[in-house]
């Protein structure tokens, strides 16, 4: 059996890649996809601890996280569509209507 530390390390690697994607990319769609990656890293952690204690509760929480990810993707992509229709851009650093 694979020790839980391996899963934690894999989850940390995916989380870091996701954080770098959120902080450095300009394209909003890539930023949303990186957020999905971060949520996936959390799911791997939950699975690892669920396996560690042979308890199914962690998997139930992972289902809730997947639900949240679906809701977030739907609303986020709707916002991107509405913004693109008004401003013709998908770059995060050009979304500065509230800045003065």
């Amino acid at each position: 059996m694979i020790p839980a530390e391996y899963y934690l390390m894999l989850s940390l690697a995916l989380f870091t890649v996701g954080v770098i994607g959120v902080l450095t990319r300009r394209n909003v769609i890539i930023i949303l996809m990186s957020i999905e990656l971060i949520l996936n890293a959390v799911n791997i952690n939950l699975m690892a601890f669920s396996r560690l204690w042979s308890d199914v509760n962690g998997q139930v929480f992972a289902i809730f996280i997947i639900t949240d990810a679906a809701a977030e993707a739907a609303v986020g992509l709707g916002i991107i569509l509405a913004f693109f229709r008004n401003r013709e851009t998908v770059l995060a650093d050009e979304m500065d209507l509230l800045k003065w």
């Binding site: 894999l10 902080l23 769609i29 199914v56 139930v60 569509l81 509405a82």
Partner: protein, 167 residues
């Protein structure tokens, strides 16, 4: 080296490599395809952790649902102009270094606490995984389940309102 270690190494390398490719590609469609690869590799990891139900949910919901939504939106908003611009913002170096520092901190915490983890339980997971998840979901987590369904309803209405041409 046992079979599950080899499988874990394969899926983990696939997930991390395609995640890195995902955040560095210039073409967003390529990024989306690499994200699909990462999600499939994560599904394989779930199967290794004997979470069969989540394995299926991951493939059907993430790869089949959310990623199709992403690809649709990419096709609607994809500008050839965007592809020729600089892909990273001007804070990229500071942000990348800070993210790596964060990873090093968490990794250090893992390293210091590695002996605090309990030894892996010898007893296997409940044999009927889907039944066990369903029983927990509909008995102990009934209220949370209902709240999640209301959240999905609100998100659906919100997405329709946002994407409508005229409110």
């Amino acid at each position: 080296m046992t079979v599950d270690k080899i499988l874990f190494a394969f899926f983990a390398a696939l997930a991390v490599a395609s995640a890195i490719l995902m955040i560095t590609r210039r073409n967003i469609i390529h990024g989306a395809v690499f994200l699909i690869t990462t999600l499939l590799a994560t599904a394989g990891i779930f199967l290794l952790q004997s979470a069969e139900f989540l394995f299926v949910v991951q493939i059907i919901l993430y790869v089949g649902g959310i990623m199709v939504l992403f690809v649709f939106v990419i096709m609607l908003v994809n500008l050839d102009v965007t592809m020729r611009l600089v892909q990273f913002n001007h804070q990229r170096i500071v942000a990348g270094v800070l993210a790596l520092v964060l990873a090093a901190q968490v990794g250090f915490a893992f390293y210091m606490g590695r002996n605090l983890l309990p030894p892996a339980s010898r007893e296997p997971m409940p044999a009927k995984n889907t039944e066990a998840v369903g029983a927990a979901l509909f008995q102990h987590y009934m209220l949370a389940f209902e709240i999640a369904s209301i959240l999905l309803l609100v998100a659906m209405v919100g997405a329709v309102v946002m994407a409508k041409r005229k409110v």
